[in-house]
Amino acid sequence: MIRFTDVSMHYGDGNEALRKINLYVEQGAMVYITGRSGAGKSSLLRLIALIERHNRGQIIVNGQNLERVTGRRIPLFRRNIGFMFQDHRLLYDRTVFDNIALPLVIAGYRYQEIRKRVHAALDKVSLLNKEKVSPVALSGGEQQRVGIARAVVHRPALILADEPTGNLDPALSWDIMKLFEQFNQVGVTVLIASHDLDMIKKMNKSIITLRQGKLLTHIGQTINE
């Protein structure tokens, strides 16, 4: 699903974020990326989402070489990914329903189909009774669940989550992680960046550890194998 070969990346100011990363994530895997703040967790996800570009090496996602995904191909590429953020990034001038419907509206689905899928997604995150509410009226945990519903509503092959539990208490975090696990069980590849080591260990999934932009530990499948 995702293959990094000797990938390096630095920001405009010369600050090197990732150095010679080699990794491989299988289709249908659920992988945690961990490390301290500034270790390069976010940068890794941003490269996969084409928010940033790598400077050296090769990245292949879902069979596509990211160097060739430019211009008009970027939107189509991103439609296969579901995003989750620590800061939710919900649109507060719209209802929960409209927020979740966004990826479907972008892809040009008909209203009946949109309604069906949004309801299914709301059901999954147990927020069916909140569809007409503004996200402002929801608690942090509920907002994060709306974010998850938005990330999965268009049935992407890959979910990228950047610190999805950063602001939540352990119980809520656990619920969120379990939700991701459910999606993973139906075949979606899930990549979660998190520094919550205790919980990650409890989840018992593959872990990629980064330190100062370098790969420290690895899931086991490397390109050399």
Binding site: R79, I81, F83, L102, V105, I106, R150
Partner: protein, 320 residues
């Protein structure tokens, strides 16, 4: 096999077109919703656009009406032939007949010396001074009305030369200088209207462009999230382009209303003035084509203004 493939492509094309149409409708409805969500802002922008469009259109109407009035005056330009004092009445009348045969002359009117005198006495207010004179000092006059095409410089000069060379004629006057001056003034006003239109069109572009620029910055998060979930540039641009279009269209509707109101207010005073000149002149408003032109000018200025803004500012927003 091949046939199936073709029908498959045509179904796909139809589907793509339907999605395109649906997304346009969505963007259109969405941007109308946005307009009503910030009614004061939208109204202010639209009103400024309206006034900017009303000004040149109003000047155009003024010019149009002036030209209609002047066209009437154009008809009444006359050539006065002052005959020599010793010319007898019969000779003058036969001369009038001769001139009537000339090309480019519509009518000839003979005013005898006596008629000229009595007219002068009643109209000038110098009747006492005139009666004090022993002899009638006024010459007989032939009033010629030239055809309209004779009003051009070359032909009128030629005609005047021909008339002056007649032995009976003392002097010939063509009182068209004032009308030429009037036309020159109208010509200047016409240029002013064009310059004003261009300047105010640029103003409309800037106003709409700035409004759209602010809207883009206000909805930065929305644009970022849209891009992150795979929205194309066109998808993101559409609501802003529709907003620009509606500002322009709304502005031209306001301009139309303002002009109609002004015409209504001016109607009575203009009628009074026309009566004083015993003319049947009434104010002309915008024709249907004029209204259509105003609306499409407003709409396209709004669209172009927002397009420029969208091209400059949306590309700069990338998700992070």
């Amino acid at each position: 096999m091949n046939k199936r493939a073709t029908s498959q492509t045509s179904i796909n094309l139809k589907r793509t077109f339907n999605i395109w149409l649906m997304q346009h409708a969505q963007a259109c409805i969405y941007s109308i919703g946005q307009l009503f969500r910030n009614p004061i802002n939208s109204l202010l922008t639209t009103a400024v656009v309206g006034i900017s469009l009303a000004l040149p259109t109003g000047f155009y109407l003024l010019l149009d009406n002036c030209q209609r009035v002047a066209a009437g005056w154009d008809n009444s330009t006359e050539i006065s032939l002052f005959l020599k004092l010793n010319i007898e009445e019969e000779r003058a009348l036969s001369l009038a007949d001769e001139i009537r045969q000339l090309e480019g002359i519509r009518s000839v009117n003979y005013i005898s010396r006596e008629m000229a005198l009595s007219e002068y006495q009643t109209e000038s207010g110098f009747s006492d001074a005139i009666t004090a004179l022993k002899e009638n000092p006024l010459p007989a006059v032939l009033l010629l009305r030239p055809e309209l095409h004779m009003l051009t410089n070359d032909q009128s000069e030629q005609l005047m030369h021909q008339l002056r060379s007649l032995s009976e004629v003392d002097t010939a006057q063509f009182d068209r200088q004032w009308i030429q001056r009037l036309f020159a003034i109208i010509d200047i006003v016409q240029h002013v209207v064009i310059i004003l239109s261009i300047l105010l069109a640029i103003a409309v572009l800037l106003i709409v462009g700035n409004t759209i620029r602010l809207a883009i910055f206000n909805r930065r998060t929305e644009i970022e999230v849209n891009k992150l979930f795979g929205a194309t540039e066109a998808f993101i641009q559409r609501p802003f382009l529709y907003a620009g279009l509606f500002h322009g269209l709304g502005g031209s509707l306001i301009a139309w209303c303002l002009l109609s109101l002004s015409l209504l207010l001016l109607k009575a005073p203009v009628l009074r003035l026309a009566e004083l000149y015993s003319s049947e002149f009434t104010l002309f408003g915008l024709s249907y084509i004029g209204v259509l032109l105003l609306l499409s000018a407003g709409a396209s200025l709004g669209l172009v203004g927002s397009w420029v803004s969208v091209q400059r500012h949306i590309k700069a927003i990338e998700p992070n």
